[in-house]
């Protein structure tokens, strides 16, 4: 649905803008050019993307995730006090975070759903608890060790060093996470269960 809205909005805005600026012929030409660009870009990123997804799966199988989970135990209990009593919740939370770190979204989502179901409050089952909000904010902040998709994009455009942005990505991800968690902390104080 979002796609259809986006496409309609783009089509309408572009047409109106082209009529205003007199660039109708360029617009029509770029429509066709864009379509073929779509194919070339997708095919170009397919290779590096497959490679990096494979490497991440390998690391997962080698037990890297278990290592990281152990390190996360203490911080997890600070952020999510419920996980101290519920072992399954703790596992789901750290599993979700690790999978996101490794960039395997397909593995992260089921564990995330498990975690959030366990975080539900039995008294108010339809209201998001502070811990649930915190969890969702952590997931939307996207902390990834290796940003595979973006690097594949850069490599496809001929970049010699697609991973040289890694420090910047780490810094931005961490700042985004901190900002989100701070906002969630303030929200928890200000916006009580309604």
């Amino acid at each position: 649905m979002i796609m259809s809205l986006f496409w309609c909005a783009c089509a309408i805005i572009s047409t109106l803008s082209a009529l205003y600026h007199g660039t109708s012929s360029q617009m029509a030409a770029s429509l066709a050019e864009g379509a073929s660009s779509g194919v070339t870009i997708t095919l170009a990123i397919a290779g590096p993307l497959s490679l990096w997804t494979g490497i991440n799966r390998l690391a997962e199988k080698m037990g890297l995730m278990n290592c990281i989970s152990k390190l996360l135990k203490k911080p997890m209990t600070v952020l999510f006090p419920s996980s101290a009593k519920d072992q399954n919740l703790a596992n789901a939370l750290s599993g979700n975070f690790c999978a996101n770190l490794m960039g395997i979204g397909n593995a992260a989502t089921p564990m995330g759903i498990q975690a959030i179901k366990r975080l539900k409050s039995s008294k108010y089952p339809t209201i998001a608890t502070n811990e649930m909000c915190r969890f969702v904010v952590m997931n939307t902040a996207s902390v990834q060790l290796i940003p595979t998709t973006v690097s594949a994009l850069r490599a496809a455009e001929g970049c010699a060093t697609p991973f040289d942005i890694l420090p910047c990505v780490w810094i931005s991800s961490l700042l985004s996470l901190c900002a989100g968690l701070t906002a969630a902390y303030i929200g928890g104080k200000v916006w009580k269960d309604s």
């Binding site: 805005i13 870009i41 997708t42 339809t126 209201i127 902040a141 996207s142 690097s151 810094i171 996470l177």
Partner: protein, 134 residues
């Protein structure tokens, strides 16, 4: 591989629509209006479409980013900023709808504003870190 083939149809239509927007002059116009404000924050105004679409759709954001990197080159300031923005943020509304939908939550309280604050911080941090470290 399967993932890449699955996103192919959406990528075709998304990159076409962004191409259309760019060549019709719509993005230039938006740039002129927002430039003074964005440059105060240190954000390259070419990334405005990416920032606006990022919380709503991952594929559209990928297409917008791909188009920007294609247009300005992967090693330019804009190319790098785009890449860092894409790599450090997530599709907010999609994540929220998946997790809150799966758990039957109707009142999301401050989750959405807080997540959007995180996204905004990510965009700002991306612009600054690329300027400072690259």
């Amino acid at each position: 591989m399967r993932l890449s083939l699955r996103i192919l149809p959406s990528m075709i239509i998304l990159i076409s629509s962004i191409s259309m927007l760019r060549s019709s002059g719509a993005i230039e116009a938006a740039k002129h209006i927002l430039d003074p404000f964005l440059s105060l924050l240190g954000i390259p105004s070419e990334t405005i479409l990416l920032m606006l679409i990022r919380p709503f759709s991952g594929s559209a954001a990928l297409a917008a980013g791909a188009e920007l990197i294609h247009e300005y080159g992967p090693d330019s300031l804009i190319g790098r900023t785009t890449a860092v923005m894409l790599g450090s943020t997530e599709t907010t509304f999609y994540v929220i709808s998946v997790y809150f939908g799966a758990s039957g939550i109707k009142k999301t309280r401050y989750a959405i504003p807080a997540a959007l604050v995180g996204d905004l911080a990510g965009f700002l941090a991306a612009s600054w870190s690329v300027r400072v470290f690259m």
